[in-house]
Subunit: 449 residues, 2 copies
């Protein structure tokens, strides 16, 4: 926990006070970064990594050592995927304009993207980052409802614009929640049936709305990551969001699905995380994997919510939907389809989850293994006390880094491994991952032994 | 003014109610856009344009017709500049990661960028859009001062995140200013000496601070575009910001220079717009031209302002400073240097301004011609009443579009031509522009004649 405090609630951040332990080259790099970028820029790991190139599911350092990427969901169809690279290169050489000129490229991509959503979400708008898209979704929701109140889960993360940060409790105590922001505990599946989990969360949302109203604040929207990533990755039970969206609509609010993490086939069983729960939100927010690393994000939204907003509010994002980023995003859809990456995420994700479970569950420090598609969580707890064990999780994360395998950790206590590789992960990569993972786990002496 | 109202204070937006006047192909394009993107997406011009490719200072439609670009400052070193394209293509094929892994590319670019600023602005941080960078600058300024109050000019534009929009009065009456936002009239050079213009603005800032304090709001920051673009483009007199920054500092506030428009050599006499005024701001915001169309933006900031913010506030922008956008931005600096684009902006900008002045000033509808570097403004007023004449300006803008020359209009009344070509504009392009411009102006019957 001291590490968490020293890095402002950032799980797995490098602690600059340990800079003296680094090799001279790396130390100099970190010092130069610190000098020019200031203290806000954090590197991952106790022993930070520097990279020179990347390909598929591997990153390479300056000595040519390969690191297996079991963490990055942004290069979702694989680092430097040739089709995406080609799309970027060709478009950059041909045309790169904003959306106030007509281009067939923008139109065709928008139509293609909207077709991946339920028909009710008939409009898309583009931004550059998930934060900007969340910020826009909030603007639309507050404009449409005329209300300011927002409900989020208790360790939610939705972004870093001022408006997104104030609905992101996971940023820690130094980033105040907005006065019009209420929190609810995330789903708690332990020992409950699927229906009960959703109903319990719905009841918490109802109580939050009532409390909000009691304070004179009207309810605009509930927003949640459909995988509850920063709350510790809670993918199950499928269907749990059904009672929640009912409660939101009963209270006159809008449901915003934050699909930045679960979207674009990550969960293996659907293009969008909310589809696993059988709901149709009012707005959906897209980001990270959309352009395989190029800055493109957006919202999908019910057209009736945009009718007045679009007329009255001039929203023009200079780079949002620019030609090069759209070309990259279109190539991402091509690759997901042509390489069967959703199915791959389902099948290889299940194999990864099973292998991790098999290797972990005998370990007394592991409390749970869960996941959806290529997004696997391993929760650590002290076997004696049952308390969340961040040090155990961080130990594995940093040990794996020394074995040149990249993952990180998440959750309100930082005790949950986040294993979330690019989608073209194969069973051979699973085997490579498991060799390292089993070694890391075996190397750990659980507390109390 | 009716047009402005119908497009939510957007100057030179296509009015969708006139869709019946468009040729069938374009009409279908506009209808499909409207259907999928909703009413928030506006095209420029009465007769919108569609483009298929671009090169240098020309854009080309699907029939191969060339349009002279005298408007776009984003592709600042020229559309599809081969060195930028090559940098993007090579980097996209090699590595594209976020800033939590070390890369030499990020470090070297950050050091190079910071060296273009006065030494006091010793840190840079990266975002994807000018809006995000403004949002971050506000977060830093409010955190550092512990105060919320912001002063802007009366028709300022600073962006479209919730926090940036609420300090952007130019977005029109449907986007409320924040309760902690005060406005002051922009510089008014008419018939005053240089020192008097700055002192008058400084006096308005002092009065705004006093009024803000009287309402119980403490002062955080004054933010202004160093060229006052949306206030009608007010580059002169150089030095006017000196008294203003003094007033801001006396009141305990921070000065934020919005360099999204003037930055990266646009003004011809300096890399940054504030340098023309001999001031060193506390924060500077960069955006549009930074990556020649790639989404990269940032702030330069006094390190002491980041010391605590950086420690306590986790600011991680997934795409901010990603390798591909940084490679593009580094190539932009290369091209500015190697092609002498600052000097070109100064010399060709002066030639353009003189030619425009010569052609315009005899015209009874033209009230003023002004500018800095390759940013030229022509202000239209009714010769009889002296009232701002938006219809005259829009008439020229739309007539030039039919002559395949791209400009637009700005200012609180929409009566100021915005002539702002990519920086590699040559005297031959000036000649081509002037042929069209003189024709447009000659074709207009000024009101009252």
């Amino acid at each position: 926990m001291t590490r968490e405090t020293s890095t402002s609630s950032m799980v797995n951040g490098f602690d600059v006070s340990t800079i003296g332990e680094l090799e001279p080259d790396l130390r100099q790099h970190v010092e130069r970064r610190r000098s020019v970028l200031g203290p806000g820029y954090r590197l991952l790991y106790r022993h930070p990594v520097r990279f020179a190139r990347a390909e598929g599911v591997y990153l390479y350092d300056h000595d040519g050592h390969a690191y297996l990427d079991a963490y990055n969901n942004v290069p979702s169809v694989g680092h430097c995927h040739p089709r995406v690279v080609q799309a970027i290169s060709q478009q950059a050489a041909a045309l790169n304009v904003h959306t106030r000129y007509g281009t067939d490229l923008l139109l065709e991509y928008a139509e293609r993207l909207v077709a991946t959503f339920p028909p009710e979400l008939g409009n898309v708008m583009f931004a550059c980052t998930g934060s900007e898209a969340v910020d826009l979704a909030l603007r639309v929701a507050r404009f449409a409802t005329g209300a300011p109140g927002v409900i989020v889960t208790s360790n939610a993360y939705h972004g870093i614009t001022a408006a997104a940060a104030e609905i992101s409790p996971s940023l820690g105590p130094d980033v105040p929640l907005g006065p019009q922001v209420w929190t609810v505990a995330p789903p708690s599946p332990d020992g409950q049936t699927g229906a009960a989990v959703g109903q319990a969360l719905a009841a918490r949302v109802r109580r939050a709305v009532a409390d909000m109203n009691r304070h004179g604040v009207r309810f605009a929207a509930f927003i949640a990551d459909s995988l509850f990533s920063s709350d510790g990755i809670i993918p199950e039970p499928a269907g749990l969001l059904g009672p929640v969206i009912e409660a939101v609509h009963e209270a006159g609010g809008l449901y915003i699905a934050d699909e930045v993490q679960p979207g674009f086939a990550r969960t293996g069983d659907a293009m969008w995380g909310f589809q696993r729960h059988g709901i149709t939100p009012d707005l959906a927010v897209m980001g990270k994997p959309m352009g395989n690393g190029m800055p493109i994000a957006g919202i999908a939204v019910r057209p009736e919510l945009l009718a007045e907003f679009g007329q009255k509010i001039r929203y023009f994002n200079t780079f949002g939907g620019n030609s090069v980023c759209v070309a990259a995003a279109a190539a991402v859809l091509d690759v997901i389809e042509d390489e069967g990456l959703m199915e791959n995420s389902r099948v290889v994700g299940a194999a990864l989850r099973e292998a991790v479970a098999q290797a972990s569950l005998g370990h007394p420090g592991v409390r749970d293994v869960r996941g959806a598609g290529l997004y696997v969580a391993v929760e650590f707890a002290d076997p004696a006390t049952g308390e969340p064990d961040a040090q155990a999780a961080l130990g594995v994360v940093n040990d794996l880094r020394e074995r040149r395998v990249l993952i990180s950790a998440t959750g309100p206590h930082g005790n949950v491994l986040k294993i979330r590789p690019p989608l073209p992960f194969t069973t051979a990569h699973v085997d490579q991952f498991m060799d390292a993972y089993a070694g890391s786990l075996a190397g750990r002496t659980p507390p109390g032994e």
